[in-house]
């Protein structure tokens, strides 16, 4: 009936859009609430945090929780160690991963498929399953409780996905560009450095930031492979309980300090990463 009277769907659309928007806002509120509540608790006076009838809105702005969080246990030591580990992992992972990605995306060779399967298979085994033998291996190599041991272990965490995403980015650069450079007299290496590399740079930045975040966020291996005195930032937060029990407001301040830089980094690269991860996914 209505099909006869309405020439276009616009009036109906407009009305229903408000409903969708409302639903969208509900999703926004639900998904964002934990983040909001973390910030809210971190900045409110500690006594308001244990109000039995908490106010949903900010009740004041104080930095005292942050100074308390810094007092409870050494913060900068663990952060420094996390930085060293994550940066080392990213640098090594990018160099090694780039070489491997080039091999599987630009060369056809016997065994290529098996190599791809092998590299992807690494991702498939839950990290937790490997903790026992890795612990024993580092124990044998005298690398237990050393940052270098953790760095080399994290490479397995980073490498498979680094290779796979870089492959996705490389594949999107037409071979013809390289070939043209080679026709013009570049060597193969020259063509790569002058033509492919600059085009790849944004993808590489995104991949390294993502790898950095992965290494920074890892908890189990950091907990198991390093002793208390060498603990990293995630372990620092995981153990955030004092003799007075859990002090939630400082703990949220600690969480904020850990999360904000990472979330900001993440916001910067996420668009690029989503593109890289799914490159070619629909075509298949």
């Amino acid at each position: 009936m209505s099909t006869l009277t309405t020439p276009g769907p616009t009036p109906v659309r407009r009305k229903s859009k408000a409903g969708w928007n409302l639903l969208g806002l509900l999703v926004f509120a639900t998904a964002g609430f934990p983040v909001y509540w973390m910030l809210n608790t971190a900045f409110k006076p500690a006594k308001d945090a244990i109000d039995p009838d908490p106010s949903l809105l900010p009740t004041g702005l104080t930095l005292s929780n942050f100074s308390r969080a810094l007092d409870i246990a050494d913060f900068w030591g663990p952060v420094g160690r996390s930085l060293i580990v994550s940066l080392a992992v990213v640098v090594i992972g990018m160099v090694v991963g780039m070489l491997a990605a080039l091999a599987i995306s630009r060369f056809a060779f016997r065994g290529r498929k098996i190599v791809i399967v092998g590299i992807l298979a690494v991702q498939m085994v839950p990290l937790v399953a490997m903790i026992i033998p890795v612990f024993l291996l580092l124990n044998d190599l005298d690398q237990y409780d050393k940052l270098s041991g953790l760095i080399i272990t994290y490479l397995t965490l980073i490498l498979p996905f680094t290779v796979w995403t870089l492959r996705g980015f490389i594949v999107n650069i037409p071979r013809e560009l390289e070939e043209a450079a080679m026709v013009d007299g570049c060597s193969r290496t020259g063509a790569f450095v002058r033509v492919v590399f600059p085009l790849l740079a944004p993808g590489m930045v995104a991949t390294s930031v993502y790898g950095f975040i992965q290494a920074w966020n890892e908890y189990l291996y950091a907990l198991m492979l390093l002793s208390q005195k060498n603990q990293t930032a995630t372990v620092w937060l995981g153990n955030f309980t004092t003799k007075h029990g859990t002090e939630y407001a400082p703990m949220m301040a600690g969480s904020t300090m850990m999360a904000v830089p990472i979330v900001v980094l993440f916001l910067l690269v996420q668009r690029k990463m989503a593109a890289g991860l799914t490159a070619g996914a629909v075509k298949g």
Partner: protein
């Protein structure tokens, strides 16, 4: 090429039979004689993976067939082989089976909720105004980027028995008195909270990937289906879903693998000592190895977990190989 992709291309022991198939399509524009170069490029990566992944994986298998406790760890006693003893002990243990069932139910719940909610939100994002979409995206990316440990800590605070905001809000409802309610007093309820945490953390990746996929669904196809009289569900079922299938398969398999491997969420939520009711395969294996100091049994459990995942992994591999071929 197409024949190549349709065969279940992942069974490893087929190095020998098909040498010519690869050689058939020579690298475009590449001079021959470069056979060594790709291996040279791969060498560092493969060496590292062999050392920190391959060797431990082999070790995991061997340890699970040995007696391996504290004294073997410190080298006081050599590790001796005990055959399938560890496996028979584990498999005969009623606790183990309870843990297996709990893990599967937990992971299945996580995966289903993640995928369904992710799909619904992705579809919703196509229908909302631009500013709402931006807001939702910001919230999603922020929760995606949150380190798991931070997210776990925040959820612990949200669900705190005495001062948690959730209990306070629920108590505002008429006739509900939740202040002091301990969400972690019972296993199922506590695991439901942990499931919520896992799903909350997993949805952004699914939504963003599916949204990217949805933009690739040709509008003409949807309109054609509309004109042919398909309803909203029909269009989704017969047009959108088939096109998104590769992405959905990839996301589902990845989610299964991730959700079967959930560890820090449970571990930190229960302050490093998950009670029996909270044990999943991962924490159970950890417990056996590092709390009971029976590394062999811990390894056996870890190995069984990996075997349990193999089927899922096979599906994922096939999908990824297709992508690898379709370049």
């Amino acid at each position: 090429m197409s024949a190549d992709t349709t065969t279940p291309a992942m069974v490893p022991p087929r190095q020998a039979p098909p040498p010519p198939t690869v050689a058939e399509k020579p690298p475009r524009g590449r001079t021959a004689g470069g056979a060594g170069i790709p291996w040279l490029l791969l060498a560092p990566c493969l060496l590292i993976l062999a050392l920190v992944f391959g060797y431990p994986l082999v070790r995991l298998v061997t340890i699970s067939f040995q007696k391996f406790g504290q004294s073997q760890l410190w080298g006081f006693q050599p590790a001796e082989s005990v055959g399938f003893d560890n496996f028979t002990t584990v498999l005969a243990d009623g606790d183990f089976w309870a843990v297996v069932v709990r893990t599967i139910v937990f992971a299945a719940g996580c995966v289903i909720f993640t995928m369904v909610a992710g799909m619904l939100i992705a579809l919703l994002l196509q229908r909302v105004s631009g500013w709402v979409k931006t807001l939702v995206n910001i919230a999603l990316v922020a929760s995606w980027g949150m380190p798991i440990i931070v997210a776990t800590t925040v959820f612990k605070w949200l669900f705190d028995a005495d001062y948690g905001i959730l209990n306070a809000l629920l108590s505002k409802l008429p006739g509900v008195e939740m202040i002091g309610h301990n969400w972690f007093a019972s296993g199922p309820q506590g695991l439901a909270v942990i499931m919520l945490l896992v799903v909350w953390g997993a949805i952004p990746f699914v939504v963003i990937t599916l949204s990217a996929g949805l933009t690739q669904v040709p509008k003409e196809l949807e309109e054609a289906a509309w004109l042919d009289g398909a309803g909203a569900w029909g269009v989704f079922r017969h047009v959108t879903l088939p096109i998104l299938k590769p992405i959905i398969v990839m996301l589902t398999t990845l989610s299964v693998i991730w959700d079967m491997g959930v560890f820090p969420q449970v571990f930190v939520m229960r302050n490093g000592h998950p009670e029996a009711e909270f044990q999943l395969l991962t924490t159970y294996s950890y417990d056996r190895a590092f709390v009971v100091n029976d590394y062999a049994q811990g390894s056996a459990i870890a190995l069984l977990t990996v075997l349990l995942l193999l089927g899922v992994v096979a599906v994922y591999m096939r999908q990824m190989l297709k992508i690898g071929e379709a370049e």
